[in-house]
């Protein structure tokens, strides 16, 4: 015990974690007799306001509980790691998926499985929302169900005479149809398309399509749609070197370097890897179609983009990545587990939180995808366009495959050590997909530790 404390203190000093000092563990009592909780989260400034509003309404419902919002927009994992090292974690909050399974296995997160009976709404979630770290061990849920979509600029489509991306999964484009339309939508400074002579790929005014190669959620749906996967059933062998997977990545690389309808590395960047938001890309018509998450809806509406939503192109069965979100969890350092779980259940309940109507979040409870009145409760408003029902609600329910981050053990290390560098090489177009993937797959296999546990709630 004592030695461990010493380590923690040493760790704290070693981290020079100045930011840690002031905030207590959230266990202390605030105003007379009331319980004080800390809720840590990230997000845009708009999300900040919305979450604060949600916390206020929780306080109104629970007069004896005070909640302190700990907003951490940047370097969330760094800050949280420092807090964990110092034994100073908040009571509950967001946890990046790259850390949550580890923290749970170390015993730093509360097992929420016993609470599923107390809060029946938590038991009726989409199966992929639950984050298990063992039999009957639940360390949290994905905060919201986010899926990848094909966003497009209506005016760019109209101006180019291109087809409108389908909003129903059954009539999703084939890959060739995507490429064909992307050609029409790509123009250089002189108004030439990539298939015309004299096209200048260095001076492209409007790109037809943008799909990130380095962001797994953007391509995982394509991989599954082509009958491939990241790893085999045991989760011990990487399958990125199968012909189906190679085809998917070769196609993505070809968008940039063969067809020249998509931006290459740095071409959209404003600062380093920081690409402007999809709302900006579409509004300025820098890009005509972008594959990005559902959460963009909020920013689309806020910045009044003339956007439309389509489903992703398909190979065989249409698929999109779902559950693209961080975890929400309760930390085991909390001195008020019951109150913290109460807030946990509250903060993701569409009855109390308006982030769903606003377009930032998609609910996790099944009924919001199945029951008409429940569907209407979050989608029948100005923030949700008419095609939302088929392109998002039905699409998510019937064609979602959960994000790799929630499923593959050790993915964080795999990503930063070998996968991302390989994908960057693909993006640069220096070597074909087959070569790069055949080289990296055995390395990934060496780091794979299986799939995360899944079970019925």
């Amino acid at each position: 015990m004592k030695r461990r404390d010493l380590f923690r203190m040493g760790g704290l000093a070693a981290l020079g974690a100045a930011g840690v000092s002031a905030c207590g563990s959230g266990g202390g009592s605030g105003a007379a007799g009331s319980t004080q909780l800390q809720f840590m989260y990230w997000g845009s400034t708009f999300e900040k306001a919305a979450v604060e509003k949600m916390l206020k309404s929780f306080e109104q419902k629970n007069q004896d509980i005070k909640v302190k919002p700990v907003f951490t927009p940047d370097e969330y994992d760094v800050k949280l790691n420092s807090l964990v090292a110092g034994g100073n974690t908040p009571d509950l909050g967001y946890v990046p998926m790259s850390m949550s399974f580890r923290l749970a296995e170390q015993g730093n997160l509360v097992n929420l499985f016993p609470y599923l009976q107390k809060y029946p709404q938590l038991a009726g979630y989409l199966p992929d929302a639950y984050l298990w770290y063992g039999q009957d061990k639940l360390h949290g849920v994905a905060t919201a169900n986010e899926i990848e979509l094909l966003w497009y600029s209506k005016s760019a489509i109209a101006a180019a005479g291109a087809a409108t991306p389908p909003a129903v999964a059954s009539s999703a484009w084939s890959w060739d149809q995507l490429v064909e339309n992307a050609y029409k939508l790509t123009v250089d400074q002189n108004g030439k398309h990539p298939d015309e002579s004299g096209f200048d790929p260095k001076q492209v005014r409007q790109f037809g399509i943008s799909i990130s190669l380095t962001y797994a959620a953007a391509w995982y749906g394509f991989l599954r749609s082509n009958g491939a996967d990241f790893a085999d059933e045991a989760g011990k062998k990487c399958l990125l070197d199968t012909p189906e997977a190679i085809q998917v990545f070769q196609n993505l690389q070809d968008l940039i370097h063969k067809h020249r309808v998509a931006p290459g590395p740095g071409q959209l960047a404003a600062t380093g890897d920081d690409v402007p938001g999809t709302n900006i890309l579409l509004k300025t018509k820098r890009v005509a179609m972008v594959v990005d998450g559902h959460w963009s809806l909020l920013d689309m509406n806020e910045s009044k983009v003339d956007y439309g939503i389509g489903v992703l192109p398909k190979y065989a069965e249409p698929f999109t990545t779902s559950q693209v979100a961080g975890a929400s969890s309760v930390f085991s350092t909390t001195k008020h587990v019951e109150e913290a779980v109460e807030l946990f259940a509250f903060h993701i309940d569409p009855r109390y939180v308006d982030l769903y109507q606003q377009g930032l979040w998609m609910p996790q409870e099944k009924k919001y995808y199945e029951d008409q009145a429940a569907v209407d409760s979050w989608t029948k408003n100005d923030g949700h366009p008419p095609e939302f029902r088929t392109a998002v609600v039905d699409y998510a329910r019937d064609h979602g495959v959960p994000d790799l981050r929630n499923r593959v053990k050790n993915l964080s290390a795999i990503s930063s050590d070998v996968l991302t560098p390989a994908l960057q090489e693909l993006e640069s177009g220096k070597r074909p997909a087959a070569e790069v993937l055949k080289e990296v797959s055995p390395k990934i296999t060496g780091m794979l530790q299986g799939w995360q546990h899944v079970q019925e709630p």
Partner: protein, 324 residues
């Protein structure tokens, strides 16, 4: 020694009243000295405490951590030199070490040459000298991150300043930091931007070169080149050496560019050592392993500095022998 106990302690026993105090005035002085020492210590205490708590303490802690398998949030377990032996087989450790070495070998000489040359220019009698000096020093005052963001824009392949200039001149444009092979050379070029501090030190050194030596060369019929080669350069070697050591030590710890501009990419081309260490510690939470990385870097820098000092005897000239 067995015999020492038997001998009397040289008769300077303070308990002996007959023996007069041999140095009474000293005693008053030592009282003053004691007071000075007490106050001195007190005044220095913030710095001492700061060093002990925020530098020496964490160093000792990290040395202990480096001998453990410790993931943040778990309990550390002692594994001896396990982390250090693991390093040898860690491909990324070698990648990061070679990227950092490559950068250092490029950036340090380039900064030394550029700042020395500019210092020479600014040591001439030209009109508006203070203005020129200010202008060349100015980039050093730009905060590190603002500087990095500025260069991201300069290097942008589409609308960046560099490619715009190249295109206007009819030259081929590059991918700069977005190209695996060009990333480090690009960052090396960028490193010269902040040469101001090195330049100021060179300038101070240049002004300390005795005039009479130049006069002696001139009297012997030597031109500017001989003045430079036989006076300026030898007299400047201590300053060059200082800037070299400080430059190598600082450059080996390069971090901002990888952190803000490239995130170690593309394809690990700019995975600088300290960035890799940071990623291990705070992204992958492997605090034990990261501590071992830190100590290895420390040892590398110590060895390089030691070698530089050894080598310095051969080429650094100190005018007053023994004044080093």
């Amino acid at each position: 020694m067995p015999g020492t106990q038997d001998r009397s302690p040289t008769g300077r026993s303070p308990s002996d009243p007959r023996q007069p105090d041999p140095r009474p005035p000293d005693r008053r002085l030592s009282g003053q000295r004691r007071m000075e020492r007490r106050w001195g210590l007190l005044m220095a205490l913030p710095a001492i405490l700061g060093f002990v708590i925020f530098t020496a303490g964490p160093m000792v802690a990290s040395l202990v951590f480096s001998l453990t398998d410790w993931q943040v949030g778990g309990s550390p377990s002692f594994i001896g030199l396990g982390n250090y032996t693991e390093l040898v087989d860690d491909e990324l450790f070698w990648t990061s070490l070679s990227a950092t070495t490559y950068y250092t070998l490029g950036a340090v000489p380039l900064v030394l040459i550029v700042s020395f040359a500019v210092a020479m220019l600014l040591n001439q009698k030209v009109r508006g000298l203070p203005i020129w000096r200010t202008i060349f020093y100015l980039p050093t005052l730009v905060p590190a991150i603002a500087n990095v963001v500025l260069w991201i824009w300069i290097f942008n392949p589409d609308f960046g300043l560099l490619n715009s200039l190249l295109r206007q001149a009819g030259l081929p444009a590059g991918q700069w930091i977005y190209d695996e092979a060009m990333a480090i050379p690009s960052l090396i070029v960028m490193s010269t931007w902040g040469f101001g501090n090195t330049m100021v030190i060179f300038l101070a050194g240049l002004q300390g070169v005795p005039r009479h030596l130049y006069e002696a060369v001139s009297i012997d019929g030597g031109g500017p080149w001989r003045r430079f080669w036989h006076v300026t350069l030898p007299m400047m070697t201590p300053t060059i050496f200082y800037n070299l050591v400080v430059g190598v030590v600082g450059t080996f710890q390069v971090f901002n560019q990888a952190y803000v501009m490239t995130e170690g990419g593309p394809n690990n081309a700019t995975l600088f050592y300290v960035y890799y260490l940071f990623r291990m510690a705070f992204k992958e939470s492997e605090m034990g392993y990261a501590s071992a990385l830190a100590w290895v870097l420390f040892m590398i820098i110590v060895v390089i500095t030691f070698l530089l000092f050894r080598n310095a005897r051969r080429w650094v000239y100190y005018e007053m022998a023994g004044a080093r």
